[in-house]
Symmetry: C2
Subunit: 273 residues, 2 copies
């Protein structure tokens, strides 16, 4: 059978040779990473930010990330940038959402593919590259408010969150808006990425085993419960938590102090179904 030709009489290989990639304007695309961890004493979640070393938003705190290269996937770019800018590697990485508002970057047309990383050990992070410095911030988040704080650096970034539901025929949407509450703010629309990703994490948390990516391989049940309470934003009953978690874990036989209190407790590890 004859090779198909288009309206200009070209075969596919002829078309590809003559294809002009410059015909349409193209956006730059970055992979930005929301890296989450838990504070050593399990008193709050931690989020990794970098201080921007160049324009735009020079000196502002931002999510680590950078431009995707032609030879790599977005996932590979996210892993590469995370390691380059903070030294973190071999962590759980998942694509969350792609942000595309045309005016979201003052330089030019830039889309951002947001990734969420879950980190079980808050390694010391060091800035490099585009980033002056990298640091873990306390992340305090509720349905009404989000704060990112680093006491050592004296930085406090807060936004109020308002959620609105609206409906369009049978089509139901939920929207939220973040309103700045402090002088110091995040670069770009990164606060939106954080809120969207956290809501995503919360929704997935109850029906998956994502929690175990945030805690070391050996842990105590009081610590694990505190972690669940941090993410879900509510207290859990110990008994119910334990019956829920029981099929997923097994005792190591060891005993050790919990990080969230300083009492001895049995040690467990995750078993995969």
């Amino acid at each position: 059978m004859a090779e198909p030709r288009d309206k200009n009489g070209l075969t596919e290989s002829e078309f590809l040779q003559s294809y002009n990639a410059g015909k349409y304007e193209r956006p730059s695309v970055t992979a930005d990473i929301l890296a989450l961890g838990v504070k050593e004493d399990f008193s709050c979640l931690k989020i990794l930010l970098i201080k921007r070393g160049g324009h735009p938003y020079i000196g502002k705190w931002a999510l680590p990330g950078g431009f995707i290269r032609k030879t790599e996937t977005a996932y590979q770019a996210a892993a590469r940038e995370l390691e380059e800018e903070t030294g973190l590697k071999d962590v759980y990485l998942e694509q969350i959402y792609t942000f595309t508002k045309p005016e979201r970057d003052p330089r030019t047309w830039v889309m951002s593919i947001a990734y969420m990383a879950l980190v079980s050990e808050l390694k010391h992070v060091n800035g490099s590259d585009d980033a002056d410095s990298a640091a873990w911030f306390d992340l305090i988040i509720s349905p009404e408010k989000i704060s990112l704080q680093n006491k050592d650096l004296g930085v406090n970034i807060s936004y109020a969150i308002e959620t609105k539901k609206f409906q369009n025929g049978a089509i139901k949407y939920e929207n939220w808006v973040a309103t700045p509450q402090t002088q110091e703010l995040l670069a770009f629309d990164h606060i939106e990425i954080i809120i969207e990703s956290f809501l995503n994490l919360k929704a997935k948390f109850e029906h998956s085993d994502l929690a175990f990516n945030l805690i070391g391989s050996k842990f105590t049940l009081p610590d694990l419960q505190v972690l669940y309470e941090l993410i879900l934003g509510k207290k859990l009953y110990k008994t119910n938590f334990r019956t829920m978690i029981a099929p997923k874990i097994k005792a190591t036989g060891e005993k050790r102090k919990s990080a969230s209190s300083n009492k001895m407790s049995a040690e467990y590890e995750y078993i995969d179904a």
Copy 2:
């Protein structure tokens, strides 16, 4: 306080004026839409495909979609392309996933932001633009196989699906691979977009009211149950289905024939919580 300057001594506005957008190579970005509906007699799901009118993959069936413009969001592009190529508008549209393998398009570096559309009425669709023609295909999907068929056009496209689980330390992944089973196949990596989106839909289906976007505003319970069974891929018990769905619906007082059988049945409508 002085305006901050970068290592070249530029302020932000000076930097932005001199910013060279051509420094890094940029990808083209498309919005592609998986539009789902239900067959009139509720015997299977339907998916909207277009026949490509130009290279590459000329003459092959593909998802509707096209390049995102500099003045619009990906959501707006998806809505626009769907209407341009098929005439469908005012439908539920949700971003699913962004596909970024560098070699996924033979022309050049192209990323695809995939959207899922849920359509409650299978309006007659007409091709235009890049698309020779648009048509609804029967979508038959199981954990092992996916088929897209249009008997009028005599087209049958099938792939076998294999799922693999693998683990990387505490990090657990699930992957699937689609293997061609027929001569005729979809353009690009669109089969991946379809499978990924459908898995997403299935996961969300049980914990949301997405179903009502696939059925008209007035419906019978037998029809609604058949729709749930189609998406979930399993039989449901009538009693349990009705107690589950009861809080979300109210009777209109009318009676009419179901589409899935030809018996009279009470008519209901969706009520929002």
